[in-house]
Amino acid sequence: MTTRTRLRSSSRVRLVRRFLANPPAVLGALVIFLMVIAAIFAPWIAPYAYDAQKLDYIEKPPSAAHWFGTDGLGRDMFSRIVWGARSAVFVIVMVTLVSLTIGVPLGALAGYLEGWVDTLIMRLADILFAFPGLLFVFFISATIKPGVTNWARASGLSELANSGYLDYAVVILALGVVGWAGLARLVRAQVLSIKQREYVLAARALGVPTRRIITRHILPNALTPIIVAMSMSLGDIALSEGYLSFLGIGLQPPAPSWGNIIAENAGRYWRQFPQMIWLVFIPGLVLATVVFAFNFFGDGLNEALNPEIEK
C-alpha cells in the first residue's frame, strides 16, 4: 500500500512539474484562479450591486470610483463584470457535471457491453451530432424555457420563476444535453481499448461484477483523456453561454453575464468612440481572456498528462 501511494505521489509531482514548465498554461491557470475567486467573493469584491443604477452618472469613462466606467443605465461596469464571473463559473461547473453524469456512464456502457446497447447509445449520439451545433442549443433552450417557467409557477414557486434563476437551469440543461455526446464517444473508445487488457480479463475471470469492473478497473484508466477533453471544453461552454445570452435566449438582464453585457452594449455603442472601449471592448476582452486561459490550460494539461505526444 505504501509503495503504491509513494508511486502515485511521485508521478503527481512529475505531472505538476511538467505543467509548471509551460508558461502559457500556468498563466491560464492563474486567470482561471482569479475568475473563481471573483465568482466566489463577488459580493465583497464588487464595489456596487450589479443592478444598482446611478441615473445621473451614465456612460462615464473609467475613474477611481468606477474602474471600468458606467453603462447606459449608470451601472458600474466593474461590478457587473465581477458578478458575471459568478454566472460564468456556475454555468461552466454545472454544464460539465451534467455532461459528465450523462456521457461517462453511457459511453462506458456502450463500450463495455457493445451489441445493441452500443448501437442504441451511439446512434443517439449520432443524431445529436447531426443537429447543427449551437442551433440545437438555441432551439432547446427556447423550447424548454416556458415549460420550466410554467412548471415553477404551477408548483407554487412563482418567486423562483420570476427571479431569473430558472434561466440558469435552462442554459445548463440545454448545453449539458448537447455536450454529453462527444464525451460518450470518447469514453466508449477508451473503454473498448482498455477492456482488452489482461488485468480486465483477469478481473472478469475472477468473477468481479460488471459494474465493479467498469468503475474500478476501466474508468480510472480512461481518466486522462476524459480530463483533457473536459478541460478543453470549458472555454467552449463559457463561449456558448455568452452566445446564448447575447441572443437573448440565455441569462436575461439585469442578471449579469458577460454575454448579455456585451449584447446590451455592442449594438448601441459600437460606433461611439470612447464609450465603446469600456462598454464593449473591456467586457469582450474579459470573456476572450477567460476562454484563452481555458484553452491554454487545457493544452498544458494535455501535454503534462501525455508527455509522449509532444516530445
Binding site: 449520432d126 451530432f129 447531426a130 427556447a142 455568452g242 452566445y243 454575454g259 449584447a263
Partner: protein, 327 residues
Amino acid sequence: MATYILRRLLWLPILLFFVSLITFALGVYGPGDPIQVLLGLRASPETIERLRREYGFDQPFHIQYLNYVVNALQGNFGYSLVKYRDQPVGVLIAEALPVTIQLNLVAIVMGVGIGVPLGLLAGLKRGTWIDLVIRALVIAGISLPIIFLNPVLTFIFSRRHEIILTALNLKFSIGPLLPMVQGYWEGIFSAKVILPAFIESLGIIAVMTRQMRAGMIEVLSADYIRTARAKGLRERVVIVRHAMRNALIPIATILGLMLGGLVAGSFLVENWFGIPGVGQLAFDALLSRDYYITMALVLLIAVAYVLSNLLVDILYGVLDPRIRKAT
C-alpha cells in the same frame, strides 16, 4: 466498400426520421403558439380557434407529424407562419441558402489559404519562436468570441483613421478600410464580404493550422522521408513532394467535413452584418416560433452533415490507397 456506402446511406432515412421527430416535437410542444405570436395578445379566442383549425394545429400530434412528413416527401415543407407570412419554406430557404454558401466558401478559402501555410511553417520550424507565435495566434483565433470580434473589428475597419506622426509633424488620415453598411449584402465580389468571412474563417484557420502542423511533424519523422533525404534529394523536393503531400491528406478530410457545414449559417455573423442567409433565417424563425422554417433548416443541415461524413470516408479511401485496401 460498396456495401459500406450502402449501409451508411440506409442509415440516412432513419436518422432523418429521428431528427424530424425530435424537431417536430420541440416545435409543437415548444414555447408559444405561432398563432398567438401571429395574432398578438388581443385576438379573440374564436379567431385563434379558427386559425388553429385552418393550419391543422388542432389535430393530434401524430396526425400533424404524418401530414408534415407526407408533404415534406412531396417537396412541400410548409409555410412561414409569422414573419414571412404564408411564403413557402422552400422558397425562403432557396433565397437564403446561396448567400450562406457563398459566404462560407469565401471563409473556407480564407481559412485554408491562411491556415495551411501557417501550419506548414509551424511544423517545419517546430520548437522555435515562429512555432510558438503561430500556435499562440491559433489559440487566440479560437478564443476571441465572435460577439467581441463583430463590434470591435467593425469599429476598427469602418472608421476614418488618423495617423499622427508627431515627430515629423505629419498628420494624415485614411478613410475607412472596408466601407461597409450594415444590413446590406452585395454578394461575394464586394469588399463587404471580407470582414464577415474572415470572422467565420478564424475557426477554420485554427483547425487547418493545427492539423497541418501535426501532420508535418508526423510525416517528417517517417522512414520514407529519411530515405528521400538519404537519396540526396534536395530539401525542397523532400518537403514539397514527399512530406507536404502526405500531410495534406487529413486536410482534405477536414475540408470534406466542412462541406456539410457550408449550408449552416452562423447566426452571430449573419445577424451582425445583416447578411440574409440561413443563419439569419433560422434565428428569425426560432424567435418567432416559426417552426416549419426551423424544422426544414435542421433537416437540411442534418442531411448535409451525414452526406459530408460519408463523402469524407470515401475520399479518404481514394486519397490514401492503404485505407482502401483495409476496408
